[in-house]
Every structure is written in structure tokens, then in C-alpha cells.
Amino acid sequence: MARVSIKVNGKDEACEIKPRTLLVEFLRDHLGLTGTHVGCDTTQCGCCIVLIDGKAVNSCTMLAVQANGADVTTIEGLADGGKLHPMQAAFREHHALQCGFCTPGFIMSALELVAKKKNPTEADIRYGLLGNMCRCTGYENIIKAVKAGAEAMARVG
């Protein structure tokens, strides 16, 4: 067993876990944060993306022990009580999801790309979302939503 101490959505979580525990298993099975999804389990679909110290990473391809001491943000950490984060609100407004399975990963990737560039172009958005797959929407509305979400975030400051 290994002891990990990871800050998740602002809360310190300390746990004894098997070293083979994936970060996504830690989040879902140990902490009950099931908003982070396992799609492909092979680092291709991006459904499991969370932010670690602000960087988008696939939590299915990272051991929880590798995140020891890190600051993790999942989809559950975005809304302010009942008020959606501007990027979440933009996804709803622009119909950027149908089944919603991939959405948490898209939103976490979008947040890193907006953190790197406040007003991303369509090309920036497509490049930044290369690690996320959606099998419902055809991507167009996702691109629109990220652009609108970035603008809304810039307004909020």
C-alpha cells in the first residue's frame, strides 16, 4: 500500500491505496467523483481528462501515486454551487453535447487551452481539443461553445 495526499477540488484527500490504482479509479471509486469518465481506457478519447496543477491530463493513464502532492481539478470542482462555470454554461447554451459522456473531458481540455490563450482562434481550439473525442455532435457546436466560453470567461475576468 502507498499513502497519497492529493488536493482535489480544493479539498485535501489523504488515502492508503494500492500503488497500481489509476488516478481515475482514485477519483471515481475512492472519492465518488464520478463526473470524470472512463471511455477508452487507452489514452485516446479524453473522457477522463482532469486538470493537474492546471494541466489537462488523462487520468486513466496516470497512477494516483504519481499525483501525490498535486492539485487536481475535476468537473465537479467547476460550478459555484448551483451556478454553472461559464464554460459549462456555454456548452449547454450551444448544444455542444448530446449524450454528455465526453463533455467533462472536453470542458477540462477547454479550460487549459483558454488558460494558455485567452481568446483562442478556431484553429487554436481544434488543436487544443485533439485529444478529445465526441461520437455524437460532429464537433462544430463544441468549437462554438469553447469560443463562447472563452469570451464569457474573459468578461468575468
Binding site: 502507498a2 494500492k18 500503488p19 497500481r20 489509476l22 481506457d41 487507452t42 489514452t43 485516446q44 479524453g46 481528462i49 493537474i52 494541466k55 489537462a56 491530463v57 488523462n58 493513464t61 496516470m62 497512477l63 501515486v65 504519481q66 501525490n68 481540455s109 487549459e112 487551452l113 488543436y127 487544443g128 485533439l130 485529444g131 478529445n132
Partner: protein, 270 residues
């Protein structure tokens, strides 16, 4: 995934001691290649030795005419930092087209080259730029480092600490990527330094290799036309669902010509 013991050494010496003491110890850097292999049980270590807490393994610096990139440096940094863009722009571009952003946030230079995937993008860059792989015990020329599919010249317990890239006068990398994985079906890195030309090919054989006939022609004339008539034999080239050996032989010519055109148009930044 099987159970394993997990270690977080603070120094290179400590890491090597733990590895040699283990029944079947394996180092982990970013884990982007190793964790999938653990899931498939293609690698079944008794002990996993994490290098992330060892100081001095990440970071990029310029030393005269050499770019030194630490082994634990993430792809995202090689792709994004001005120090790389201003020294070897096509190295930054190559890394920026590997996989996707979330993979590049975790994957490392040292992990990638130790894995030595025969379709990976870093190996042709190291080979064509005549990079030196620095380990905790010695320095290895790229030509001696890549020895086969998923096989390198590293000895048991040896740890890559950095790679030294001599800065070329001209360089370019062009790949024909698999649209799903972004791995190279064929990729060609062309570099010219002080009149010497290196052409390195990935994705086409079980191991990255140099194409000497093209190098000699390009040393006479650094133009796409100089290599137009040079055709790689399909003998020994990879056959898989993505392409036949003949297809890959053709792609080598096309990618090499494009790389030369691109390199010739981009002299070394001042």
C-alpha cells in the same frame, strides 16, 4: 494491472540501488507508454521506480551551439518554449505534433526514447541531429542508442539524464501521420550542419535508420531535385494495415523531398 511495489527515490544513485535490488524493477518517467504496457501486462514489474522527485532531470538550456534538454522535460515544454523554437524550430514543431495536448503534458523526452517505438517521432530527430544521450554513467551517440524495435543500448539500471542536440544550420521533419494515433506511417528528419547532411527515417522499418544515399546526394546539392531519382528498396520495410512496403518506400521519397524543401527554406535562426 498486477500489483507492484512503488518507490520514489530522491537521487539517481538511490534510484539505481533500488532497481538493482528489485527482482524486476522498472523506472517510470511520465508513464504514457509504460502505463498502457502495464495495463496489457506486457510489462510486469515487481517494483516501479518513479523518477519524478529527482532534481535536475527536467529543464532546457542552451550551451553554445548545443540545446540541452533534460530527460524528464515534458513534450509540452519542448513544443512550447521559445528556447527550443529559437534554436531548432522543427524540433519544437515535431514535438507539438506528437499525440495530443493531454499526452504532451505528461510524456517526457527520456521516457519516449527509452521506449523506442519504431514509429515514434523523437528517434529520427536524435539520429539526424546527431544528438548525444547523456546517462547517469556515460554519453551515447544516437546512432548507437536505437538498436531495434523497443530496444536501446541502455544497460540495466542506467538512467537517461539529458539529450544534447547540436544546433543545425537547416533542419525539417515531415511525417505522413496515421490520422487516429498521429504516429508516423513514415517520417523523415533532414538536418544539415557544417555541410554534412543527415537523413533519418522513422516508421518504415523495425528501427529508425539513416538513408546514406540521400545524404550524399544532398551534400552535393541541398535541393529536393537532388533526391528525386533515389528510390528506397521495399525490401525489409514494414508491412502492416497502414501500408505495404512499396507504399512506405514511395512515402520515404516524398517525405524526404518535402523535408529538404522545408529545411532549405528555413535557415538557422539568428
Amino acid at each position: 494491472m498486477d500489483d507492484f511495489n512503488y518507490h520514489e527515490p530522491r537521487t539517481l544513485a538511490e534510484a539505481a540501488v533500488v532497481l538493482h535490488a528489485a527482482r524486476n524493477g522498472v523506472y517510470i518517467a511520465g508513464g504514457m507508454s509504460l502505463i498502457p504496457a502495464l495495463k496489457h501486462r506486457r510489462v510486469r514489474p515487481s517494483d516501479l521506480i518513479d523518477l519524478r522527485l529527482i532534481d535536475g532531470l527536467a529543464g532546457i538550456r542552451r550551451e553554445a551551439d548545443t540545446l540541452v534538454i533534460g530527460a524528464m522535460t515534458k513534450h509540452a515544454d519542448v513544443a512550447g518554449l521559445d528556447i527550443v523554437r529559437n534554436s531548432i524550430p522543427d524540433l519544437a514543431r515535431l514535438v507539438g505534433e506528437m499525440a495530443d495536448p493531454s499526452v504532451r503534458n505528461r510524456a517526457t523526452l527520456g521516457g519516449s526514447i527509452a521506449h523506442a517505438d519504431p514509429a515514434s517521432d523523437y528517434p529520427p530527430a536524435l539520429l539526424a541531429l546527431e544528438a548525444i544521450i547523456v546517462t547517469d554513467t556515460r554519453r551515447i551517440a544516437a546512432a548507437e542508442f536505437f538498436t531495434g524495435p523497443f530496444t536501446t543500448g541502455l544497460r540495466k539500471g542506467e538512467i537517461i539524464t539529458a539529450v544534447n542536440f547540436p544546433i543545425p544550420d537547416n533542419a525539417a521533419y515531415v511525417k505522413f501521420a496515421n490520422v487516429a494515433s498521429r504516429y508516423a506511417i513514415v517520417g523523415v528528419f533532414v538536418a544539415r550542419r557544417a555541410g554534412k547532411v543527415c537523413v533519418a527515417v522513422t516508421g518504415a522499418k523495425p528501427c529508425v535508420f539513416r538513408f546514406g544515399e540521400m545524404e550524399r546526394a544532398l551534400e552535393n546539392s541541398f535541393t529536393p531535385d537532388a533526391i528525386k531519382a533515389i528510390v528506397m528498396s521495399a525490401q525489409g520495410l514494414t508491412a502492416d494495415i497502414h501500408g505495404t512496403p512499396e507504399y512506405r518506400a514511395h512515402l520515404i521519397g516524398v517525405m524526404a523531398q518535402r523535408a529538404v524543401a522545408s529545411a532549405a527554406a528555413k535557415p538557422r535562426p539568428a
